[in-house]
């Protein structure tokens, strides 16, 4: 027995657990969908490192805007898996009372605000959130998650440009997952990196390996520090890959098999597991226990969602006007 005890970095095991939770949750959701027990949803399988890494750099002061592919962001922010799953199922116990479904879940109490399923919608809203933070003199920042698909829309240019001119405290997180619904990025844009576009608008940016959660977390911490200090926007591009289809179910017949398998060999979760096992941060027994605990949590979420009631019909016209 050695008396030397390595310092266990909680943050890295936490990041792995978060990624496992997202993966298990989304695969369970897809499984329920395949069994016709759940509505469809858009998974972020393969992109978990981006959600877990960026979210680890934000704190309770910060506000988050996400999009249709949001379960990862919500869970990484600490959302209750039961209530996210219930919302996907359109149940009254969901975060939005079943009125959102999977596509536009907001959780105000966690600072996950204004989720829009219109691709690019989040980019148009975030400048307003940044303006509120600036004018109400709050020290939080606004983080907005969007993809390469949204970046090819005009509103990306409008949003980043206005944030630059008005010096808004916004972290733009472009999850460049190579897919724009059913179209490969290379069919719609000549550039490889969205980070180049923001530089042209006068906004500092950086591209990071979006499948390496530690690299994402470190880059996000730097970006957040920059924004807090300078009160200016920053764009972080997490270069990653959507391993499942656009929405469930999807046979991915349109996906290049070689490309898919090459990205699968860089699965962010498998890479992190290897790294923590090799470096002795986690034992295989601890990893198995972590997976089992996550699995139970997700099974409980599915049971909760399935058992929850649908909203009553009087909800058809509530919350339309304030």
């Amino acid at each position: 027995m050695t008396t030397f005890e390595p310092e266990v970095d909680r943050s890295v095991t936490q990041a792995l657990e978060t990624m496992l939770l997202i993966r298990t949750f989304e695969e369970k959701s897809a499984e329920l969908q395949a069994a016709k027990m759940s509505p469809s949803m858009c998974t972020s399988v393969g992109q978990e490192a981006s959600a877990a890494g960026v979210m680890s750099a934000l704190d309770e002061r910060d506000l988050i805007l996400t999009n249709h592919r949001s379960a990862g962001h919500l869970l990484a922010r600490g959302a209750d898996p039961n209530r996210v799953m219930a919302e996907i199922h359109g149940k009254a116990t969901g975060y939005c009372g079943g009125k959102s479904g999977s596509l536009h879940i907001s959780v105000k109490e966690l600072g996950v605000i204004l989720t829009s399923t219109i691709v690019g919608g989040e980019l148009s809203l975030v400048t307003g959130v940044g303006l509120s933070l600036q004018m109400l003199e709050k020290d939080g920042i606004a983080a907005v998650f969007f993809g390469d698909g949204a970046a090819t829309e005009g509103v990306f240019h409008e949003s980043v440009n206005l944030a630059a001119v008005w010096e808004l405290p916004i972290l733009y997180v472009c999850e460049n997952n190579q897919w724009q619904a059913y179209v490969h990025r290379k069919e719609t844009m000549l550039a490889d990196h969205i980070s180049d576009w923001s530089k042209a608008l006068g906004v500092e940016s950086r591209t990071v390996d979006g499948n390496d959660v530690e690299a994402v977390a470190a880059a996000a911490r730097e970006a957040v520090t920059y924004i807090r200090k300078n009160r200016k926007p920053f764009l972080l591009e997490t270069y990653t890959y959507r391993l499942r289809g656009h929405m469930e179910p999807d046979d991915q017949a349109y996906v290049d098999k070689n490309e898919l398998s090459s990205w699968k060999s860089r699965d962010p979760i498998a890479m992190m597991e290897r790294r923590l096992l090799t470096d002795g941060v986690l034992t295989s027994i601890e990893l198995a226990a972590m997976k089992e605990s996550v699995r139970k949590k997700v099974e409980a979420a599915a049971e909760f969602a399935l058992a929850s009631p649908y909203p009553s019909f009087d909800q058809l016209t509530t919350n339309v006007y304030a």
Binding site: L114, M135, E158
Partner: protein, 318 residues
């Protein structure tokens, strides 16, 4: 009373609300340039120019409204709102409901429209009914200087997104505005002239056309009541019905084209709820299904004029 233009009345209303509530901010295309008095009084942070990009102006307003500010945005001309439909309709109008009531969107979007400046169909297009069809959004379109001010103040105090349509043809003709905190409630029509034979229902510049027609009709022995809707959503159903139940005849007049327009909605309400009391079918007089032309005579001909209104009423009464 003070006599000022509706244009000034609208921005006086804004200035008073900015004085009252530090959360009120205003930005848009040329806002700071044109309203230097507001910049002087409230500073550059609360009064801002923006790029000529309606989408991001409206989206910024929606995001800011959901997080503690009360933005008033100037989108200049109504057709420019086509660039902001996503933000106004999908975000500001729907995200309160979709989020299960977690957010509200207290914002005002100003857009000018209507014949009067001979600018053609990409600056002049009465699209107010598009927004009546959008859930979660309110729509106003005043016809008097007093209402421009009073409705602006109500719109700013409202917790919902309000589309504020300003009729170009009215903006620079001075009118009387009451002194003090003049607030006009949204959702309440105004009775502009009492009458007993027919109800003329209108909003925006065609209210004045109806009043002119009513004057002519009076000289010919027909007593016309004139109702100014001024709020298109919510619509003052009770106000419309009580008048039509009294007169038994209704002519709805507006500059916007007819199909699925406000007039169609008003006619349907009357048919559903006052059919038995009608002495004649409801008539709609509207602009045609065509873009407004720039050429001044054509532009004016787009708008239902008093002679057409008089004719329609005469056919109803006889």
């Amino acid at each position: 009373m003070t006599t000022i233009t509706p244009d000034q009345a609208m921005f006086d209303g804004l200035a008073e609300e900015m004085r009252r509530d530090p959360r009120v901010v205003t930005f848009g295309e040329g806002t700071a340039t044109k309203h230097f008095n507001l910049v002087e009084e409230f500073g550059k942070r609360r009064v801002r120019n923006t790029p000529l990009a309606e989408g991001i102006i409206a989206g910024t307003a929606a995001g800011a409204a959901a997080t503690g500010l009360r933005p008033v945005i100037d989108l200049l001309f109504a057709p420019f709102m086509t660039f902001a439909m996503e933000e106004l309709v999908n975000s500001a109008g729907k995200l309160r409901f979709i989020s299960g009531g977690q957010f509200s969107f207290p914002l005002v979007a100003i857009a000018r429209t209507g014949a009067g400046w001979a600018v053609g169909g990409q600056h002049n297009h009465n699209i107010e009914a598009w927004f009546v069809h959008a859930p979660g959004v309110k729509v106003v379109m005043p016809s008097t200087a007093a209402d421009f001010k009073g409705l602006m103040k109500s719109a700013i105090r409202d917790e919902n997104p309000v589309m504020f349509f300003a009729d170009i043809g009215l903006l620079h003709t001075p009118g009387e505005v009451p002194d003090g905190d003049h607030v006009v409630p949204i959702g309440k029509a105004a009775l502009r002239r009492e009458g007993s034979d027919v109800t003329l229902i209108s909003y925006g510049k065609t209210v004045q056309k109806c009043l002119e027609a009513a004057e002519t009709l009076a000289s010919e022995g027909v007593s016309a009541e004139v109702i100014d809707l001024r709020s298109l959503k919510p619509l003052d159903e009770a106000g419309v019905l009580s008048s039509v139940l009294k007169t038994g005849r209704a002519v709805v007049v507006h500059e916007a084209s007819g199909a699925c327009g406000v007039g169609a909605e008003v006619a349907a309400i009357i048919a559903e709820k006052a059919f038995a009391q009608l002495k004649a079918p409801v008539v709609r007089l509207t602009g045609p299904d065509a873009p407004p032309a720039a050429s001044y005579p054509l532009e004016q001909a787009y708008v239902p004029q008093p002679d057409r209104i008089v004719e329609a009423v005469k056919r109803q009464v006889n």
